[in-house]
Symmetry: C2
Subunit: 183 residues, 2 copies
DNA sequence: ACAGCCATGTAACTCGTTACATGATTAC
DNA sequence: GTAATCATGTAACGAGTTACATGGCTGT
């Protein structure tokens, strides 16, 4: 049956397992609050084409197009839940892929001025702080439903993971910056 | 002129700035030892097509095809160096993109059995150790040329960054695993 | 002789993006 | 009335992958 979907499809499908029904537009917003930090938030246009594909395979279903309402809401189907469950159980997760333009540029730092390398790292530190703030807000919004057994338990764990990651990145980048400025 | 190349092109071009001339095959090996950890190591076929494009724009040049030798070596041109330098100085690096299948699956951990979530994290910890070992070997191979001002200075900094990142990931994943097993 | 590595490339394909087009509803 | 937000899609394109095809050279 629906074998071999791209991971992003499962990701979007997974965002529909939190008990509500979403329009493509809303799904994109949820992706921006979650997937963005550990995966990628697909473009609007892709959200719609993924929803079309998932609907075709009956993993999601459009919910009664509320008469006068122009927006189509989608819910995950039983088949969709099963598919997700099988995917989680039977396919290996694989190792993260990191596309780190700052590390990449540092690798060839010798072709730039030392001042430019330092600026690269400082800019990164600034941006890290902004991203951390965004994620911290998301994490705060999950408070209340994050106890063991509750709905936002896992999203909260992931958010904490992300925050710890940003903190670690900042620490490392600061240390590298020190070493660059020494040399 | 050669404006607007994908970052991967600059990455490969950058690997040719370490004073030697490489065949496509060797370039791929170098990518496997460097880019793999912070970017992506392109497929063999892409290495060749990128080299063709870089050659077309005269950012690299095939070095005299050594008579009886069947392999084509490439060196970076002066124009190539200039292009890289400008790229480093004038285009913003952008924020890293992380595709983290473990975090993604944890996000929707409620659709799986708790035991499967725990296994997910344990497998990740195992794989982290292997990757760390690979990177540690690479880092060791740079010893000797990693003092300030020397050829492998920056590659060594990046390798240290990577090692610290792996260590941090392991620490966080272990803590999340604890919390998952508690709940 | 045979395996394994070195070496180069083409073809088909998928994922995902940007640009574009359209229009309804809501808030001021 | 007009700007922002909600809402949905199409078309063209680019980056990057896998599968395939080919063949020389090296060590045993």
């Amino acid at each position: 049956m629906g074998q071999g979907l791209p991971v992003t499809s499962y990701a979007l499908l997974g965002l529909l397992t939190f008990g509500d029904e979403l329009t493509g537009y809303e799904l994109k917003q949820r992706a921006d609050n979650t997937l963005r930090f550990y995966w990628t938030s697909p473009a609007m246009s892709q959200v719609y084409s993924e929803l079309a594909r998932l609907a075709e395979q009956e993993l999601v279903a459009p919910v009664s197009e509320d008469a006068n309402r122009r927006a189509t809401r989608y819910r995950i189907t039983q088949k969709g839940r099963q598919e997700l469950h099988t995917w989680m159980r039977e396919t290996p997760a694989g190792f993260p892929v990191l596309k780190h333009p700052v590390a990449l540029r540092l690798l060839i730092g010798h072709v730039a001025e030392p001042a430019d390398v330092a600026r690269l790292l400082r800019d990164y530190l600034d941006e890290l702080e902004l991203q951390r703030k965004d994620l911290a807000e998301v994490r705060e919004s999950l408070r209340g439903g994050d106890a063991p057994g509750e709905a936002f338990r896992y999203p909260s764990l992931v958010a904490d993971w992300g925050l710890a990651y940003y903190d670690s990145e900042a620490t490392i980048a600061r240390e590298i910056l020190d070493r660059v400025e020494d040399g």
